[in-house]
Symmetry: C2
């Protein structure tokens, strides 16, 4: 099969859309980020955010060494997109959401989001255009309504899946199969 070449662009989508919270110049600020990563999947749980160096939020994360990663549901698509459209440099976004705090004093979290991860800054990996903020998750908060037997149920979360190819948010569909399980059929060959 002949494939088409697209010139070395990134097609690693969709990723979960998040709203990152931080204290910047003494005030809570929020920015939409979907260029996320999972870095270390065990204690310490480490996740990454790729944030263009000119963003207003970056200085606040570096100063306070803390931030939050909030997972909005489809119901919040307008506010989620809004905080990605306007910069904290010009617009005060501290009253867009209901805010709560956890263990850290400088990681403002969003009540309306069904899931919140409170992170302390673990490291900053410097890339040509972006600061890659690596956060250690110190606590995770969930609305009871999105838990099923104590585990997060994505069908209830209804995350906004980000896709840079179509420049669209997508919804999540249905479960397809069990991981580390459905492939056993081939193992028995």
């Amino acid at each position: 099969m002949v494939k088409k070449t697209l010139g070395g662009i990134n097609v690693l989508y969709p990723t979960p859309t998040t709203i990152v919270g931080a204290i910047v110049e003494g005030k809570p600020n929020f920015i939409t980020i979907a260029h996320i990563g999972i870095v270390n999947h065990a204690k310490p749980f480490l996740i990454s955010l790729s944030m263009g160096k000119p963003h207003y939020t970056n200085a606040g994360i570096k100063e306070n060494k803390a931030f939050s990663v909030n997972i909005p549901s489809e119901d919040s698509v307008i506010a989620t997109d809004y905080v990605g459209l306007v910069s904290g440099k010009k617009t005060d976004k501290s009253d867009v959401f209901d805010i709560f705090y956890g263990r850290l004093e400088t990681a403002p979290m969003i009540s309306e989001c069904p899931l919140n991860m409170e992170c302390k800054l673990f490291d900053v990996y410097n890339t040509p255009i972006h600061d890659l903020f690596i956060g250690e998750i110190v606590e995770t908060y969930a609305e009871e309504s999105v838990l099923k037997d104590g585990k997060v149920d994505l069908g209830s979360v209804k995350p906004l899946l980000f896709d840079m190819s179509s420049v669209r948010y997508w919804s999540i569909g249905q479960t397809v199969a069990k991981c580390w399980n459905v492939g056993k059929k081939m193992k028995q060959k």
Copy 2:
């Protein structure tokens, strides 16, 4: 609203399931990886893979400084799960897929996957439990059938979305809204 605390676990899902290809001990090998990241979204396009240090593939990536990131569709769920279930240490996985090569000689890619990213190793970020491989995308390949006006159409790709909470693969749903657009409604307030 009172939220439940989950003890600092990662809930940053779903992520796109990928199959990573590399040459290990002289042979093509494949492993399922969904703990991915987007690191620098501009030239050089950088993406990350979080791979537990004991994996067989890690040594091959370090030796050859190249790997591929292949995006399987739902149709390949059994083979995708299979290459995540069995280790290359014990099982030869070189004949599970049809393989093609691009510019690099040590980044085996999977014909059956609608999207492939050929990467050279840019850096390894060391974490407590995982090697975080940071790859620079040198070329991207796409099946014509998943392109719409020259752009990737996720509805045609039908990616397998990984969710560690339910330990399930999910399908993608429908488009919800335009990014950097739907939030303008709030801007006009």
